[in-house]
Symmetry: C2
Subunit: 454 residues, 2 copies
């Protein structure tokens, strides 16, 4: 029986070239994470559903991939349970585990489980795939990677400053021009207060989060649908449309939010961060953006999003300050701040901009042509010497036609080919062919190594 091979929708194979590009992004992010003192952890792909359920809202619960209990998964069920016709309820009977949906909830679970081993502040990074049963579409996958860095156990706003510098460094290294949008949840809370709707903070943030995508009229419509009065909506307008330099915006806000203690605290936090960044400025443009809300409810302070300039694409990095990451797991009072790089979107941006370094593929550097038994034995010795010198080297495994062997080098983007026939064996030299120019040089091993290392 043969099976027609396919992969589940929304998932991908990565070819060597795609892997090289993706690893270039991961390695860049990882190196900067480490430069800033973050340490790696990993958590299992599978978490108990009790850890995951209820953490991502109703919609999130539906998008969890659940894993069927192994063995005879029916044996523990009562007849009544077996007859359960509600799929979601039956699922919790059939499944105890699910695939992780993000890296934040597993991290919170990690912190609580390992609290006695951790010294706070704890700076961790984590680069792992997550899974969501979303409807697949262009640029949205059911398996994708997240690259998160968080500092927990420190309230200091210096952490926010450090993370902004870290973001700046990553995109400078990736050669992607970006704008960094900054806001503060306390300012949004203050705004909700002064327009007379302190309880509608979530509705307001969810609505204005879409301003970029759907425009002002639709945002206002949604706000009215959510029950905001016309007066509240009209009071919101000048704030949404606030223009000018960051300092001007903050000064204007300071007047608008003068009666909101929370709002003023948010402004003071932003002000502190801007002060530190005036000492050590970002290379990227920093924009105070009052329409930036970030949908997630757990943010309580600074929030940040990064947009690539000159490319049509949503935010490629985001994050913020939260006050109670681990409370749901019985460990209250742990504050933290974190960011998450969207590796897949960064990949798409780099593909559009074509900004990969020339040597990203970094495949084999030198291929020895195979001319037969005796020649290949001589070649094997040379191959070993080159590898000892750190040069990625192959010997073609068969004495195939030269054309086929050169075609192999071409398809693998191998820049140099070595020819060792009887002449070369007699003289102890190697003929080196440059695959780009076709130029051939005969030279001894030490010179060959020098040439390829240069």
């Amino acid at each position: 029986m043969t099976t027609r091979p396919a992969i589940p929708k929304g998932t991908r194979d990565l070819s060597p070239q795609e892997m090289a590009r993706r690893d270039y992004i991961f390695n860049t992010i990882r190196e900067v994470f480490r430069l800033y003192g973050f340490q790696a952890i990993e958590t299992p792909a599978m978490e108990n559903l009790s850890t995951l359920l209820g953490k991502y809202g109703e919609e999130g619960d539906k998008l969890l991939f659940k894993i069927l209990n192994s063995g005879d998964f029916l044996s523990g069920l009562s007849e009544e349970e077996r007859q359960e016709s509600n799929a979601a309820r039956l699922a919790t009977r059939l499944c105890e585990k699910g695939l992780r949906y993000d890296l934040t909830v597993p991290f919170a679970r990690f912190v609580v489980m390992h609290r006695n081993e951790l010294t706070l502040p704890f700076k961790r990074y984590q680069i792992q795939p997550v899974w969501r049963a979303d409807r697949p579409q262009k640029g949205r996958y059911r398996e994708f990677y997240q690259c998160d860095a968080d500092v927990i156990g420190s309230d200091s706003l210096l952490n926010e400053v450090e993370l902004l510098h870290l973001i700046d460094e990553v995109f400078a290294r990736l050669n992607i021009p970006v704008a960094v949008h900054l806001n503060n949840r306390k300012i949004l809370a203050g705004i909700a207060e002064i327009i007379g709707c302190p309880d509608a903070l979530t509705d307001i943030t969810v609505a204005i989060d879409k301003l970029d995508k759907v425009g002002l009229d639709n945002v206002n419509g949604e706000l009215r649908e959510k029950g905001l009065s016309n007066e509240a909506v009209s009071r919101l307008q000048p704030i949404l449309l606030l223009q000018g330099e960051n300092e001007e915006k903050l000064n204007r806000l300071r007047q608008i939010l003068a009666v909101s203690e929370t709002g003023l605290k948010g402004i003071a936090e932003l002000d502190y961060i801007l002060g530190k960044l005036s000492v050590l400025p970002l290379r990227a443009n920093l924009v105070i953006d009052l329409t930036l809300a970030r949908g997630l409810n757990y943010y309580t302070g600074a929030i940040v999003e990064v947009k690539a300039l000159g490319v049509e694409m949503g935010s490629i990095t985001g994050g913020g300050r939260y006050d109670n990451l681990t409370g749901v797991f019985g460990m209250p009072g742990i504050s933290g701040v974190g960011i998450s790089f969207g590796a897949d979107r960064i990949y798409d941006v780099l593909n559009q901009l074509d900004r990969y370094p020339a040597d990203t593929l970094a495949s084999t550097q030198l291929l020895f042509v195979n001319f037969g038994e005796k020649e290949s034995e001589a070649a094997l010795r040379l191959v070993a010497a080159l590898r000892t010198a750190g040069i990625r080297t192959e010997l073609y495994p068969e004495a195939a036609k030269l054309k086929k062997q050169l075609g192999y080098a071409d398809s693998k983007h191998i820049p140099f080919v070595a020819l060792v026939g009887e002449d070369e064996m007699a003289s102890g030299q190697v003929t080196l062919k440059n695959m780009a120019t076709g130029e051939q040089t005969r030279l001894p091993l030490p010179d060959l190594i020098t040439r390829l290392k240069g």
Copy 2:
């Protein structure tokens, strides 16, 4: 509601120290893979169950983690199907996808799906986790990593030679003394022939594969149980007990298997490989081991296993030649040879031998103590300069007590701490404290960089 946090049995969190050790192993293996011209691919964690089922035997099918169909997974089922009381059959109705069980079957599926994009021979490596619903026990996990390298599309035995050198290089770099055990499935087939049981090859290999673990008597018992005659079993004994140098063993075998064409072919293959290895010897001890069988049925030529010397542990690497990897997916005639490093066992061996390089953790190199607002601003500038120089540097985020900050450095194994107070700010210098010796030196930034880079 709070959830008591736990993780599924058989899975693990990796702490920063465990990650550093594991990545040391992965990076070593990856670097050697690349040095030998292998290129990375990745495949999705989820495969269609139609891809996975039937590829690992009946036992393997049971050990697959199956993923519940998303959405209303009951809607497509007939009443009869819903009443199915056989768990395995019901599972195939409820689940279309499963987690990958190894990297070999997904690779075969990959090759068939991408055959038009691949140039043969194709040398790929893959380092990804796999999942098995095995009973968890010491050293056996339900989620673990495999590190595979395969060459497909080439019959040349030079590939076997290359992979043996690759194995040798990896364990030399990891500083683990090993013995490399080599055999050939054709020799085992020849043995089955000459003892008069050509059809019992699988039973014979399965039984003698356990010789190390259960001893000769038990192996003979199992062979008799499987229906081998006393005569056949007694004919097998001198072969199982064959002693001496590799060449002696091969010479003796050549006599024993003189009438078996297949057996002689296996000997010739081994002989060829030994010949090449005499040109370029391994550092590890190479042992022709006729009791090495490897349980997997798809091997058809050379088979190899690596054992760590001086440590009680099963094989830490294994592999072999197969003739028909992709046939089951409708693409016959693709031969290949591959090896798989057992990262978890290698990790355990290194822990036992305590052979990690001193700088494996490679955490932050320098921590700036935070003495307050003004001092921390000066420190931030220095931190930026040090990071630009590639030195992993942190500023403690809060002006906490010095003891607490030094405790943080200690717990994170940070070797140096920088103190920048008023004196240092005035003189443009930094006081550097060596955490191991307690020694303090005052020096300007350029000297600090030189010191830490040295």
